[in-house]
Symmetry: C2
Subunit: 226 residues, 2 copies
DNA sequence: AAGTACGATATCGTATACGATTACCATAGT
DNA sequence: ACTATGGTAATCGTATACGATATCGTACTT
């Protein structure tokens, strides 16, 4: 959805199967633990098993599902540890991506990002977590638009995809975190506007993600893994 | 080679084909631009096209090759821009991995790493780039052994794999860089021993990788891409 | 001689069929 | 009641065959 696959033609059945299965996972039609049987999926989609198999392997590579021989594919649930790993990694790559992008951000970009953040603030009363999460992605996407290193951007997108598989945003769980997030966004924009150095920008962006993780950990009173 | 694939049984032909093709690319038997035709590879390996196809797709996902419909797969060359992207990303994830691992490193680990670095120093006269590069991987592997976040470690390994596809180490190109590298290793160990904070360790580790990149850029007088 | 259209060829994409491996369950024994 | 064991069935892994499509060479026309 976010990252575009290369090579495979858009209309190929492998691609269609990949998109269809992924959508069903993200939409919650296939919940974690659900067993994806090649033959069943193939007949459901009206395709043969070969393209479905390829789609399954791609989804496995992106860790949407796990795969075992003679057992089949099962939709991967995100356990707290996995969530922690993902958020920590995301804090690092997002921090780097923000710092690298900052020098190339124009005033127009800032204005657009600020507009999105305003919508997020308005969204706080009568809170809609889905809309809020979507706006949050928009906000950071604007900042990353001109990231000079596509590899790092790709890592960010992978992390987002993985979190999306969790489907329930942290904002849902931790009341008050959304407000903090909006404030941190504004602070981040101000920092970039001020022409702060890359280290400062990176630190702020990383802290922004880490704060969300910390809020989650505090809520669940999950022991801080070292 | 470094990262282990999940799911696919070790003995499966897909896996064998994947390993075989990858090895040939890394060994230089398939040079950049070489056209990999499914049917030909399959008959060479004695396999059918289906597992070979799967192997090709995996190699494409790891950007060892490019793939186009009705044209086939061609071995991807690593252009300077791609190298820059990889090194920059690696500087970030290695920095993070080192900082995260530092608190869990024991005195024994330090001693082992120091022993490896001593070998590297000895290797400087009568310089053997292959051995040096291998020792360099050993050195950093020791530091990362107890990294608490496997995701980040995986990103490091991916970067190493990608660099391996370049086959010619930077150390070969930039005389004097090897000496610097050994010195930086020692400094990094001393920093970790001193119980320095994670920010300091991360900064040092990142700079260690960045210095290699800078040496390369200076040599090629390639314009610094911001 | 140059350009264009057409056909042959090469290559991938997919379907189907079969074989190998292992999970699952029922049953009998302790 | 629990455990060990055997057989059955489900599922993946692979081979082969065919179809779709783009590329390349050739012949024909202007």
């Amino acid at each position: 959805m976010i990252t575009q696959s290369a090579g495979t033609p858009a209309g190929s059945k492998s691609e269609q199967a990949y998109a269809a299965i992924k959508d069903k996972i993200l939409a919650g039609k296939y919940t974690p633990g659900y067993r994806l049987v090649l033959a069943k999926i193939a007949s459901d989609l009206g395709f043969s098993v070969v393209p479905v198999r390829e789609a399954i392997r791609r989804l496995e590579a992106e860790s949407y599902i796990t795969f075992e021989r003679n057992i089949g594919a099962t939709v991967a649930g995100i356990d707290p540890t996995e969530y922690l790993y993902t958020m920590q990694t995301l804090s690092i790559v997002e921090g780097a991506a923000t710092a690298l992008s900052a020098p190339m951000i124009t005033e127009t970009d800032i204005a657009r990002a600020r507009a999105v953040n305003t919508k997020m603030r308005e969204c706080l009363d009568d809170f809609d977590p889905v809309l809020f999460t979507s706006l949050n992605l928009d906000f950071h996407s604007i900042l990353f638009e001109n990231c000079p290193n596509p590899h790092i951007l790709d890592l960010v997108h992978r992390g987002w995809n993985r979190l999306q598989a969790l489907r329930s945003s942290t904002f849902t769980y931790v009341p008050g975190r959304a407000q903090q997030s909006v404030a941190e966004h504004e602070a981040l924009l101000a920092l970039i506007e001020s022409g702060a150095g890359p280290d400062d920008v990176e630190h702020a962006a990383r802290a922004h993600r880490t704060a969300t993780l910390d809020a989650y950990l505090a809520r669940t009173s999950h022991p801080t893994q070292h």
